[in-house]
């Protein structure tokens, strides 16, 4: 880029700035400040979305859509929370919608119990771990969108019930119920229960 002496602030010169500052600038139309936020948060958010969706390609799409939605909504964002918390919520909700679209809700509550994993004896630990992850992913697919999202946020992201309730937009009680059902389903699926 030519002539970055003083007048413009190319991405690099904003790279060290904190989120709050960049968020205000982006809200006022500074797209380069927004670009810094995108690069800073993209990795963690794709990680989150991959855990929620179980698929990195869909995860990247969801995160991309979430950022674009965030850009559109930034002028109304008044810093009630940090940018990180805000975009985390947008991504989670985007993923919830993807999960909901994946299977009709009706079919989920009556989803059959998955079969217990077959590999009771594994030749070595790596294979075993890999197989276990595969089983777990399969078992996760048997959960409803809300069960899956609540469980991932609780178990894999270590969020509090309160924060999950805020993010997903349901009561804490409802979050607890969904996490419980998810655990029930998964312990059964892992063939570990009884």
């Amino acid at each position: 880029m030519a002539g970055d002496r003083t007048s413009t602030a190319p991405p690099d010169t904003q790279a060290g700035l904190d989120d709050a500052l960049l968020t205000v600038r982006a809200a006022e139309g500074d797209e380069e400040a927004f670009a810094v936020l995108v690069r800073r948060h993209a990795g963690a958010l794709v990680g989150l979305a991959t855990r929620l969706l179980g698929n990195q390609v869909e995860a990247e799409d969801a995160v991309q859509d979430a950022f674009i939605s965030a850009w559109r909504r930034l002028p109304e964002f008044r810093g009630q929370s940090s940018f990180g918390t805000w975009i985390y919520r947008i991504v989670t909700n985007r993923c919830l919608n993807v999960l909901r679209a994946r299977k009709p809700q009706a079919a989920l509550d009556t989803a059959p119990e998955p079969a217990a994993p077959e590999h009771t004896v594994a030749p070595d630990r790596i294979t075993e771990a890999r197989a276990a992850v595969g089983d777990m992913r399969q078992a996760l697919d048997g959960l409803s969108a809300e069960q899956r999202a609540c469980w991932v946020l609780r178990e894999l992201d270590g969020q509090s019930y309160e924060s999950i309730a805020d993010t997903v937009g349901i009561s804490q009680q409802a979050v607890r119920a969904r996490v419980f059902r998810a655990r029930r389903h998964l312990t059964n699926a892992m063939g570990a229960w009884r």
């Binding site: 602030a9 060290g16 989120d19 600038r25 800073r40 993209a42 990680g47 850009w71 559109r72 312990t187």
Partner: protein
């Protein structure tokens, strides 16, 4: 409000819950364990302990699914950022036009463009970064001179904020004149934050 620890006699219908042989509900045993409020019964009851063991086993087996806050392997933030910014650049918010010269001259600069220059000017004062920069202009006298409202982060070590603000104002006025040619009537400066600046800008992540 969470419910008390003492269970009703039977699980509510359609809840997926289970009454353990010891008379406790599975959901409550798990909740107590998670909230770290297990009582004497749970610590000694074999049914409760087995139930908790299964939950712990689940937790162990999902550790491989969790990568904390790391991005998945093979993820390139740059490529995603490019795709996002391609769309963002189709939906820019440049703000309002501000007159360069007199309003009648038909020469304008978009607010967001001028703001970027003025924010950069503020950051020439050591330890200062500009956050909000709104620029308006008063058309009443026909000169169209601009009023700038600037929010800044100032270094925690500042001893004289008034002097600091004066320095920032000076930089903003010089940049408005020399880099833009934008006539400035007034620069209002608000110190929004005092920040600990270790020499330069190397912070990298939020809080």
């Amino acid at each position: 409000m969470t419910t008390g620890t003492h269970p009703p006699a039977a699980p509510p219908p359609d809840s997926d819950d289970e009454l353990l042989p010891c008379g406790r509900l599975l959901s409550q045993v798990w909740a107590a364990w998670e909230d770290a409020v297990t009582d004497d019964h749970q610590r000694t009851c074999s049914h409760c302990r087995q139930a908790i063991g299964e939950l712990e086993a689940l937790r162990t087996s999902v550790r491989d699914l969790s990568h904390g806050t790391e991005a998945p392997d093979g993820f390139a933030a740059g490529a995603l950022a490019h795709r996002v910014m391609d769309v963002v650049r189709l939906e820019l918010r440049p703000g309002k036009p501000l007159p360069l010269g007199a309003p009648d001259d038909g020469m304008w600069i978009m607010e967001s463009v001028a703001a970027r220059t003025l924010r950069a000017a503020a950051s020439r004062v050591p330890g200062v970064q500009a956050s909000s920069c709104r620029i308006g202009y008063d058309d009443a006298d026909g000169t169209g001179r601009a009023t700038v409202s600037l929010g800044i982060q100032a270094p925690l070590s500042s001893t004289d904020l008034a002097e600091l603000a004066e320095n920032v104002r000076g930089q903003v006025e010089v940049a408005a004149d020399q880099h833009l040619g934008l006539g400035i009537a007034r620069v209002d400066i608000r110190v929004t934050d005092l920040v600990d600046v270790p020499g330069s800008t190397e912070e990298g992540h939020e809080r």
